[in-house]
């Protein structure tokens, strides 16, 4: 498919999405028919399905991480190992780092959501036992996932003793970066730029998603404001760092 056709296709998709979105906003038929919609994934207790899903994800990721730690040899392969074997092992280690990080993120999201629900007026007093168990479980999951991440970093540090990572150090990230050689720094620069682009797109999609949420469920400006503030902070950090190199000393 040529670039011109691709561009035209994208334009048509955007036009279609714009038309659907415009119709949703202006049409009373849609807004009235969904006015009774509530985002409360529930089976027995209010929001139990949503918290259950978070728990399931956290446990799944924890099991994946544990299996990864067990499967990976405690020590890196020696010099006699082939390059393919060494590459494979390092690839497994990178997957392990990612799964342990996802586990921490999911557990923290669960903890903060549980905390927000327990402290809000939306919490149903009759569900107090569920709320307490949910809170305690999320705290346990957070500690468990943090422990797994520490274990994963220990494995990483055994594999790469010349560039160890200090997870809880004050300047851990900077110290780690200083230990990298030029190609590894190049990888960090490429990855960080990809992450920067992904966050930009995600923030716009997130804002758009909350507009849809306002239409379908209820108006809540806070998430959109929070995303806007995060966007400003991200851009400021980027330009602040970049501007250091253009300032007159």
């Amino acid at each position: 498919m040529s670039k011109k056709i691709k561009k035209s296709m994208h334009l048509l998709i955007y036009l279609g999405l714009g038309a659907v979105f415009g119709f949703m906003i202006t049409s009373r038929v849609v807004t009235e028919s969904v006015s009774s919609l509530r985002f409360e994934p529930t089976l027995y207790y209010t929001y139990d399905l949503a918290f259950g899903l978070a728990a399931l994800l956290a446990v799944g990721l924890a099991i994946w991480t544990i299996v990864g730690i067990v499967r990976l040899p405690a020590q890196p392969l020696g010099d006699e190992a082939s390059e393919e074997e060494t590459n494979r092992q390092e690839y497994l280690l990178s997957k392990l780092m990612l799964s342990s990080l996802y586990c921490v993120i999911v557990s923290l999201t669960w903890l903060f959501t549980a905390l927000a629900y327990a402290s809000s007026s939306a919490a149903v007093p009759e569900d107090s036992s569920f709320i307490v168990i949910n809170l305690i479980s999320s705290v346990i999951a957070t500690f468990g996932s943090t422990f797994l991440q520490v274990r994963t970093v220990q494995v990483y540090n055994r594999y790469f003793p010349e560039r160890t990572l200090d997870l809880f150090g004050k300047n851990g990230a900077k110290e780690f970066f200083d230990k990298l050689d030029e190609a590894e720094r190049y990888i960090v620069y490429r990855s960080a730029f990809s992450a920067y682009k992904a966050v930009n797109v995600s923030l716009i999609i997130g804002m758009f998603g909350f507009v849809i949420y306002s239409i379908l469920v209820s108006f809540n400006p806070m998430p959109i404001l929070a995303l806007g503030i995060i966007w400003i902070i991200q851009q400021t950090a980027y330009y602040w760092e970049a501007s250091k190199y253009y300032r007159n000393k």
Binding site: D79, E83, T86, N87, E90, F160, E162, R163, L180, D181, E182, A183, E184, Y186, I187
Partner: protein, 72 residues
């Protein structure tokens, strides 16, 4: 656009040096050697000179520009 090609793997095989050995000799990581060999990373002049010194050849014998020396 010109692309940097290299014969690091070839010279390593000639001298029977592993990626880790070469990395240790030039003060880089094994991953850096793997990236250079795959053509995913163009090393700095300093690193290229260090690699050439290990194999005791001129840097041009290991690294070359494919597609000429200019972008014209």
């Amino acid at each position: 656009m010109s692309e940097l090609t290299n014969r690091v793997r070839e010279y390593r095989a000639r001298d029977r040096i592993s990626q880790s050995d070469l990395a240790a000799r030039i003060g880089a990581s094994r991953q850096t050697i793997a990236l250079i060999e795959r053509g995913d990373y163009s090393p700095s002049v300093v690193l290229a000179l260090k690699i050439a010194a290990v194999f005791q050849v001129q840097v041009e014998e290991i690294f070359a520009l494919q597609g000429g020396h200019s972008d014209e």
